[in-house]
């Protein structure tokens, strides 16, 4: 009974992983310029953006009409007509001051508004729920309290302040959630953070906004905002599923969840790294040193110290998984690779 329950749970979880679409979808937005607004942090940004949009429209149209009017009204008949310009004053201090002070009067409130919004974006409320985000080439990994291995999707409860603590394991990335109007660089060697309080349930895209190399544009993820209670259920199910899986099923799950699939195919096409199909047991030439046999030890080394031996034809791009994969995880991945004949 218990056994069959856990098996069906594991199958359900595996089906869930497998069924996930590759690309996030851009949700329909009620606005022309902006994606939908799905966090309390968006109101300041959207209000200021709209104000500036109208202000810009006003000035652009005004300048266009002034130019067009002058060009039509004062257009020269021909060069041969040799008309002289009408005498006008060449300098007018009052006018100069007017068009200096009016822009100043406009930008002061913009500065203050932007400052307030920025301080708000950069100051997470006390007691916010914490989730760790780690950027690596080319995957976002999110670590949840109580879940041993990280997940590639950001799951959060609705109407709850959430603080994301961000860092990077290799180069600079940037965690960008357009629907929450927030973004923060993931810098190797230091922590940064963002916070939000989602106001709408549903799925919203996450992008990497700082250029990070070959697959920068594939470093996508999603934030799933759960209805009340949904987050807790998701977390419990995921923990149960992660614990129950072992062997090659565990490897298959990790292949998707840990970012392996970004660079390694399982159908034989080389991507940034070698394809896993049929690689186990093969002799491979290395960029340095003698050829090596792809066995358990080579695979383990490639996960823990990926730059040690690089297969010929590929570049050292992989981050280390030291500390991120347990022995059970590594065994699972090796079993999964073995199964890909």
């Amino acid at each position: 009974m218990i056994l069959s329950l856990s098996t069906s749970l594991a199958n359900a979880a595996f089906a869930l992983f497998a069924a996930e679409p590759k690309l996030p979808t851009l949700p329909d937005s009620p606005y022309f310029w902006m994606p939908p607004s799905a966090s309390v942090t968006t109101s300041n940004t959207d209000a200021l953006f709209n104000f500036m949009l109208w202000m810009s429209l006003f000035f652009t149209v005004a300048i266009f009409f002034a130019m067009a009017r002058f060009c039509i009204k004062y257009r020269a008949k021909s060069r041969a007509a040799n008309e002289n310009a009408q005498k006008t004053s060449e300098h007018n201090t009052v006018l100069e001051l007017t068009w200096s002070i009016i822009p100043l009067m406009i930008v002061i409130p913009l500065f203050v508004g932007g400052f307030k919004g920025y301080v708000d974006l950069r100051t997470p409320p006390k007691g916010a729920m914490e989730i760790r985000a780690q950027g690596q080439k080319w995957k976002w990994l999110f670590t949840y309290p109580g879940l041993g291995s990280p997940d590639d999707t950001l799951h959060v409860p609705v109407n709850t302040p959430v603080r994301i603590v961000i860092n990077s394991v290799d180069v600079i990335h940037s965690l960008f959630i357009p629907s929450f109007r927030t973004k923060m660089d993931a810098v190797p060697g230091r922590y940064s953070d963002i916070w939000f309080k989602a106001t709408q349930t549903g799925e919203f895209p996450i992008f990497c906004a700082e250029y990070c190399g070959t697959s920068h544009s594939d470093m996508l993820s999603r934030v799933v905002v759960h209805p009340p209670g949904g987050y807790e259920t998701w977390l419990a199910n995921t923990i149960a599923a992660a614990d129950s899986l072992s062997g090659k099923d565990r490897g298959a799950m990790l292949y998707e969840k840990q970012g392996c699939s970004t660079c390694h195919s399982i159908d034989g096409t080389p991507k940034v790294g070698p394809s896993w199909k049929g690689i186990f047991g093969k002799m491979e030439s290395m960029t340095a040193g003698s050829p090596m046999k792809v066995d358990e030890n080579y695979l383990r080394e490639s996960m823990m110290d990926p730059q040690a031996h690089i297969v010929m034809g590929f570049t050292p791009a992989m981050p280390t998984y030291q500390g991120k994969l347990s022995d059970k995880d590594i065994d699972g991945l090796i079993e999964f690779i073995k199964s890909l004949k």
Partner: protein, 560 residues
């Protein structure tokens, strides 16, 4: 009667066709490569910059073509990354930075000062030779394994990528020295070689803007030189400066980089202000309104430009206090910029407006630069910048300023001074069609990118979500239109060199000193240094259009 701006004997144009001028004074390729003549150096700069522009433009069209579809269109990930990097690096370091100052400035500025040459002709030649060496290093990177870091060379990515970063960065380092030499030369030239009577407030606005630019070039460029050198040392010798695995700080690089590169934005746009300041009065037949405010605002922009680099780092983890100060100073730049735009437009009021090609480019500049400037305000607002930074909104903003502003002004200046530099008129009708194509093309290319950006499309993306495709297709069609406009321009300009009508000394009726020597100018520019007795835009009424000549003559000379 207002006196003409120079004594009568220099105003009388000398015969132009067949006579001795700087183009015919010496013969042979070596007489060009080792020339000390500012005009020849300027011409070599001009054609080198235009070649680089064609190359950078080709890469831009490749990038835009790839972006026609959300997935692969014509190239793979890595090639795409190299294409946008080369496009940016070439356009910034090889085209826009030297474009107006070193090419147009070298040809025209000494003439506007009534001088025989710049202060240090050998340094001027060295500057061009360094440009060539720098360009060769950049092309070396292209030949080995083209750099893929983006033109910004951000660490630690630039320290870890396997592409040829070192030649490209070293090329940019050398190009920095080329730029410093030009700047130093122009500062001394403006201080020391002004003719009798030309006080500071009688300088043409083009000279003012080049002076302000030169100050930035000399003060800011050494910082990028040292920064790139440190990056090269770190990459080759593994000394920890920016790499966190060696104990360095990657964000420090961004501070150093923008300490130069934000002022460099003004190295690119301030000379454009100068060109517009020359074109609008001449084609409105009116003195520039608010001359002093425009001149001083260039200096103000140059100064403030040094204090705002941190506005590129609002999401880098920089402290809130630092961000606040940078944001506040950034807003201040809006004021001198607004002053300029309003003064330019007011100059046209009650003028006599001739819509020739240079004026069409100046009008295009005014409108497009206004959009570029106003969208800069969006990015100065800190909370809004958090959403917009590193998206296509930023791409659209700086292309409106760099392409719509700096390149449009460069094209305006090129058409304005082309008859002076080469002694030939281009086909005016094709010129106007070209200007319209460029104007339409750049708006269709870059306006959709504002929408893409605020909707969340990040920059430097090879793949993108299918929902963004229609705007990308529109943008690419605009880029093709731009390409067509520039091809047409290249065609009629080169054609004019062979078969264009012989240009008169003063085809547009300008009153600055360059219009008082023949087209093309003689080798020594002026037989006698002109004496200046009036402001730079005084005396349009003293000129008279002569239809047979196709240019302007002093009224007195015609009647007499």
């Amino acid at each position: 009667m207002a006196s003409p701006s120079a004594t009568a004997d220099v105003v009388a144009p000398r015969s132009t066709s067949g006579g001795d001028n700087y183009l015919t004074h010496d013969k042979g390729i070596l007489s060009w490569i080792f020339t000390l003549d500012h005009k020849r150096i300027g011409v070599m700069y001009l054609f080198s910059v235009l070649t680089a522009f064609a190359l950078g433009g080709f890469f831009a069209l490749m990038v835009r073509t790839e972006l026609l579809t959300p997935g692969r269109t014509i190239m793979d990930h890595d090639t795409y990354n190299q294409m946008f990097t080369l496009h940016g690096a070439i356009m910034v370091f090889l085209v826009i930075i030297p474009g107006i100052p070193a090419a147009l400035g070298n040809i025209i500025m000494p003439l506007q000062l009534g001088a025989k040459d710049v202060a240090f002709p050998r340094l001027n030649l060295a500057s061009y030779h360094l440009w060539v060496v720098g360009a060769i290093f950049m092309l070396t990177s292209l030949a080995i394994n083209a750099v893929d870091t983006g033109w910004t060379f951000y660490t630690p990515y630039s320290l870890t990528t396997t592409t040829a970063v070192v030649p490209a960065a070293f090329g940019a380092f050398i190009l920095g020295f080329s730029s410093i030499f030009t700047g130093l030369n122009f500062i001394v030239t403006v201080h020391k070689l002004r003719p009798p009577g030309m006080s500071w407030f009688r300088l043409p606005l083009f000279v003012w803007s080049l002076y302000a630019t030169a100050l930035i070039q000399v003060l800011a460029t050494p910082v990028i030189g040292i920064t790139l050198l440190m990056m090269i040392v770190e990459r080759t010798l593994h000394i920890g400066i920016f790499d966190p695995t060696l104990g360095g700080d990657p964000v420090l690089f961004q501070h150093f980089f923008w300490f130069y590169s934000h002022p460099a934005v003004y190295i690119m746009i301030v000379p454009a202000f100068g060109v517009i300041g020359e074109i609008i009065p001449v084609f409105s037949r009116k003195r520039m309104f608010g001359y002093k405010f425009i001149a001083v605002s260039s200096l103000a922009i140059a100064f403030l430009g040094f204090l705002v680099w941190g506005h590129h780092l609002f999401v880098s983890g920089q402290s809130v206090l630092a961000g606040t100060i940078f944001s506040a100073i950034t807003f201040l730049i809006a004021i001198p910029t607004a002053i300029k735009v309003f003064n330019w437009i007011t100059t046209m009021y009650k003028g006599v407006i001739h819509l020739d090609t240079p004026m069409l480019y100046a009008l295009a500049f005014l409108w497009v630069f206004t959009i570029g400037g106003l969208t800069g305000v969006f990015l100065a607002v800190m909370s809004v910048d958090v959403h917009l930074t590193d998206t296509y909104f930023v791409i659209a903003h700086f292309h409106y300023v760099m392409m719509g502003g700096a390149i449009t002004a460069f094209m305006g200046g090129l058409h304005y001074w082309w008859p002076k530099a080469f002694g030939r008129m281009y086909n005016e009708k094709l010129g106007r069609i070209g200007a319209c194509l460029v104007f339409v093309g750049l708006n269709v290319t870059f306006f959709p990118q504002f929408i893409l950006g605020s909707r969340g499309m990040p920059r430097r993306y090879y793949n993108y979500l299918p929902e963004f495709q229609s705007l990308h297709v529109l943008s690419t069609l605009g880029a093709y239109t731009l390409g067509l406009g520039f091809l047409l321009t290249a065609f009629y300009l080169f054609k004019s060199l062979k078969s264009g009508r012989i240009a008169p000394a003063n085809p547009w009726g300008g009153v600055t000193l360059e219009w008082q020597c023949s087209s093309p100018p003689p080798y020594y520019n002026f037989h006698k240094p002109p004496v200046v007795t009036a402001g730079p835009y005084d005396g349009y009424e003293e000129l008279m259009y002569d239809e047979k000549l196709g240019g302007y003559l002093p009224r007195k000379a015609k009647s007499g």
